[in-house]
């Protein structure tokens, strides 16, 4: 007598069909959530840990970021007359320790996450690509 207990109305399928139809017709709070990536980008969080940036005037080249880097991806190199960190993005795990330990608050992380490149050499970001000049407040 299993036929008596069977769900002959197929109510489960009909319920499911209703839910999917609501998604198709955008009934209720069911928007299209995809971001069309190359054409539009999602807004990253303010504390997003992307590519580093070093304040040209504040950095004193002390090397504390170098010693604290867990992956050893930071080196202090000479740039012009002063010493600045050089970050190897290929080894970096974006933990943010370098930003935390910087005594002069010279290091920060930007929201730039499109860091894919063609060669390993180009993943080494020297001071020429990391430095930025803070705008002086009058």
């Amino acid at each position: 007598m299993t036929w008596m207990t069977r769900n002959w109305t197929m109510s489960g399928i009909i319920k499911g069909l209703t839910v999917t139809l609501k998604h198709v017709l955008h009934i209720g709070d069911r928007p299209t959530v995809t971001v069309q990536y190359p054409y539009e980008r999602m807004k990253v969080a303010p504390r997003f840990r992307g590519l580093h940036a070093v304040d040209e005037d504040a950095c004193i080249g002390c090397g504390i970021c170098d010693t604290n880097c867990p992956n050893g991806s930071i080196r202090i190199v000479k740039h012009g007359t002063r010493w600045y960190p050089q970050v190897n993005i290929g080894m970096c795990m974006f933990c943010g320790y370098c930003v935390d330990v910087c005594p002069m608050n010279a290091m920060k992380m930007t929201g730039n996450y499109e860091l894919a490149d063609y060669t390993r050499e180009s993943l080494v970001y020297g001071p020429d690509r990391l430095l930025f000049k803070k705008e002086v407040k009058q």
Binding site: G16, T20, T32, T34
Partner: protein, 376 residues
């Protein structure tokens, strides 16, 4: 059908006569016929017109298949809160063209231990029946390649050919997954062709004819001026059984055992690549459209619909047929994105223990009602 002499333009029952009528209306048919007759080669003209109708059908099927692949991806995307293809062409409409170009450019790999001849033969055996099914399908009034007197039987017989192709492909690939999928697909196809045919017979009992045109004509008109005389209202159980059986016959979710990705990689065409894979793809979607068209023809009134004044009935009937067919296609895609796959033993249980007894019951009740004079 033999036509001798000039065309008089009295009857118009299929695409061949439609073309002749159009040519006559333009006023060029007599001249063309005269030219061919002066060389004693009237049959060449007939052959050319038949070939033109077949070419139109082939082009229509190809364009439809391209559109259906796009539609499948779009419907799936809409259900899953995505966009789907958006880059190539407006709203990604040209994506199937790019896919086709990509598939043509792919290397055609034959497995080392495969049965080469059968392996190469199988895609064509899948593709040709998928096109042949369209021959007795009425796209609109007089828009039919050939109004066979055994149209419905022809359709069921042709769609019953697909297990052969599947089994050949699965066996010739020399791969355990393809063989398993082919075995499953054949078991499924055979067990679901029976309810498909049995429910179609219930409709044939109502019309007394296997010709698709007769079935469509029997559904013209309305009851009480409101309800259209479609067989879905006379045969609701048969309609549901036919819908389920045709979805199983197409091999779509929830019955897609021929290509259950999570279990059997890609099913029986795992080893196929390039153009042969494209042929299977084409056959699958052509089959989807054909089966939806058959469902519309049998149960949803075919090309019947309200006649609009001022527009030729050939055009309105084509539009009605296409609209109804796409509604059924949309339902199949919608169902695919909603329900999960059932188990193979559940599938066979449903087929043999529920669908066939219900189809037989429907047949008996229909027979009683017709004999008692309640129906028709």
């Amino acid at each position: 059908m033999l036509y001798s002499g000039m065309w008089t333009g009295d009857t118009m029952t299929n695409a061949y006569e439609l073309i002749i009528n159009i040519l006559t209306a333009i006023g060029v048919y007599d001249t063309i016929f005269g030219v061919f007759k002066s060389y004693g080669m009237e049959f060449v003209l007939k052959l050319i017109i038949v070939l033109v109708t077949l070419a139109v059908l082939f082009g229509f099927v190809l364009v439809t298949v391209m559109f259906l692949t796009w539609m499948e991806r779009k419907v799936a995307a809409m259900v899953q809160s995505r966009y789907g293809p958006m880059v190539t062409g407006p709203r990604g409409l040209l994506q199937p063209v790019m896919d086709g170009i990509k598939l043509i450019g792919k290397e055609d790999i034959v497995p080392a231990k495969a049965d080469r001849f059968v392996f190469n033969l199988a895609p064509y055996l899948a593709f040709v029946p998928a096109i042949l099914v369209f021959v007795p399908l009425p796209f609109g009034e007089s828009l039919i390649i050939s109004d066979l007197r055994v149209g419905l039987l022809y359709i069921i017989a042709i769609s019953a050919l697909s297990p052969i192709s599947i089994l050949l492909a699965g066996w010739a690939s020399n791969n355990k997954y393809t063989l398993l999928a082919a075995m499953r697909a054949v078991a499924q196809d055979i067990s679901y062709t029976l309810p498909l045919a049995l429910t179609a017979i219930a409709v044939v009992m109502l019309t007394g004819s296997l010709s698709t045109v007769d079935i469509v004509n029997a559904q013209s008109g309305t009851w009480f001026g409101i309800i259209p005389k479609w067989f879905i209202f006379l045969q609701p159980l048969a309609f549901i059984l036919f819908l389920i059986a045709s979805i199983a016959e197409m091999g779509r979710i929830p019955f897609d055992f021929q290509e259950s990705e999570s279990e059997l990689i890609a099913g029986f065409f795992t080893e196929y690549s390039g153009m042969k894979f494209a042929m299977y793809f084409l056959a699958e979607y052509a089959h989807l459209f054909a089966v939806s068209g058959i469902l519309v023809t049998i149960f949803l009134g075919g090309w019947n619909g309200p006649v609009l004044p001022g527009i030729p009935v050939v055009i309105t009937s084509l539009v009605y047929f296409i609209l109804k067919t796409y509604a059924v296609v949309f339902f199949a895609m919608w169902l695919r994105d909603t329900v999960p796959r059932i188990r193979i033993d559940q599938l066979l249980n449903i087929g043999w223990k529920i669908m066939i007894p219900l189809a037989l019951l429907n047949l008996i009740v229909t027979g009683f009602l017709i004999t008692a004079g309640v129906m028709r």
